[in-house]
Amino acid sequence: MATAFSSPRDEIELNNTDPSPPANSKCNVCQKPASFMCSSCGLNGPRYCSIDCQTQGWREGHYRLCKGNEQARATARSRTPNTQTDNTADTAATDVDDDTSLSRVQTRNSGISRFGAAQIINSRQRRASQTAANNQDGNIPMVELQAGETATDAQLDEEEYADELRFYIRQIYLVIQPVVICIILSIFWVKVSFSGTSDYAPVRPSYSIGSSSASTTTGTSSSSSVVSSLTTALVIVGQIVVVTVAIVFFFRKGWIKVLIGFFMIVVLGLLGFMTYLLLLNLIQVFFIPLDYITMVFALWNFAVVGLISIFWKGPLWLQQAYLTIMSSLMAFSLTGLEEWTTWMLLGLLAIWDLIAVLCPFGPLRLLIESSRTQQREVPALLYSVNAVWFMASMEDHFRISRSFLPQNGHVIGTNWIFGGSSRNSSASNLQELQAQVNRSNAHTPEPVADTSTNTQFGQARSESPEPLKEAHTIHNWRHSSGPQGAVIRGPQDGNGFTRLRGESVNTIEINSTDHHLETNPTTTLETDTVTPNPQRSDSDETPPDEEDAERSGLKLGLGDFVFYSVLIARAAMYDWITTVCCTVAVLMGLTATIFLLVLWKKALPALPISIALGVMFYFVAKAVLVPYVGALCVLGMVAV
């Protein structure tokens, strides 16, 4: 879904393509006007007009002087011991007071990496021939130095690339955990309430252990009921579409409060009612005598506390527990649908997501546009093809401009599609430019990150739309890239949009203005390539915490959670083998993105893969694998 972001980012690229190279700097090698600088040495390092000049200059001995090289090695060294990739590094950075070179290096790398994703890939491919040798055996700086050519680039590429991968792998992993929990929960609900003794199960298929097989009944009914179930599914999807459009409408109108109110009600109702239904199942299956007084009291507590902890404040684990339980509840209630309806619904929803996000007039896409043009926070609406989805990451809304990007398994898709498209669209030397500038910024002296001054400044600046727009998106972007998904945390409470944005902006503004003050000719470039600094600045001022990483992990969006859980709950209603198959399929869909990334440098959103694989596996397993296993493995006692 998040692929929607390819568009804004593309445009930003284009915005920043035109600036003319700085006039007053000459290339160290060929004395032409230089547009590049040694990324490692930064502003006070040598300037070049082209890669060739730089490589020449490198050979001519800059590699001896180049600080970046040492620091790069330092990086390489300092990274190896710590397992927690960048987080621990940053904490280290903060423990060691401020501007020790270590902290700088660390944060720089982490900072660059997110941003540089696209370029790295491109430059990789461009330089495939050269780096091929180095890539084979890890990224040991010495080797590359001996290998000579573009040692710095290659090595930095390696690290940025590694950062990318580590970040995404970590994200996916963080996503997988709650997904698995949610799936297990839904399976449990299903197994319990369809154990036959409950009158309150959402639907009573003729499925019961031992007595009759589900397939016979559904099979007879399937051919006839396909049409009807299709219509049912269409109706449901239609409702979802309407809801989404309405949300977008509200959002464009700017009636955020309405939205929040609406979704609070939805959450309350969901927590209350769905839990009630589930409770009916449980107390009947387990013969629990329960009185209305106790139940109402318990439900009221459960629902209201859930609301508070999701929308306002509460321990993180509690919040995540609520979100997971809620999605499993949603999935459970969706198992009430007739089998074919479920499949149709899953397929249609996956398609609808793609449409809504990818096609130029998809509502979600429009939403992003408007969120950018109106500088209004999009609470991770992207998942919200349905209320639950939205609610899933409502707390975003009250957090400082936190992008939904990093929280979504599909981020990678975004980045790489972006990379690809920009590669095609803009001249490749633009990419080179970007890449260079990254590295250059890596070395810009650290700006004074004084929050108090920043705030007014930021708020003062925060009216100007144009840089704001960039700043804003960059900001998101930075978070999308922040290796630990770190966010600026500051004094804030429920309704602090402007303040939050003010902050989120001003950090950017500060940095960009730093460069202005430095009258750095490449300002325009830097305004969006500046990401490292705020990254560092806020990661300096605030120790990044695991919470945020996890939180971003959970942000896969309960939309996906519910999809997956519905799929697997439905599979669990048949047999354990189908359950296993569908689970593997779903996890694979999540993992596929990372592997496609590693392999072909491009990725697809995880959801359609998962759903498609899951549905396919379900039916193949149901029709063929289950009898196969029954005959060969269970009765034949052969463990293949």
Partner: protein, 98 residues
């Protein structure tokens, strides 16, 4: 939702206070959350001292509710049969066979 250590002591106090008063709406669970959520911050120096009082009150209220509900439920489960029709009326799902 920022993590607590990013919040100033006064904010934490206000949160604790809000949760405490909110708990009076028959929300002992909120009290419990309040305690679990804010107790670790008591160690911090910048947190006002009243917070501790609020949290302790929350614990007490939570305990009181716990006792009340458990006693009521125990009473209900044991006396259900003898109460007859009225018990059936307030039972959500009458368990079969008992």
């Amino acid at each position: 939702m920022p993590s607590l250590d990013k919040m100033s002591g006064t904010e934490i106090l206000s949160v604790g206070k809000k949760m405490f008063y909110g708990g009076f709406a028959f929300l002992p669970l909120l009290w419990l959350v309040n305690v679990i959520y804010l107790w670790p911050t008591l160690k911090r120096t910048d947190v006002p001292a009243q917070l501790r009082r609020y949290l302790i009150y929350s614990i007490l209220g939570c305990l009181a509710w716990f006792i009340i509900t458990t006693t009521w439920y125990a009473l209900f489960v044991n006396k259900r049969v003898t109460w007859g029709a009225t018990a059936d009326r307030i039972t959500v799902v009458i368990p079969k066979g008992v």
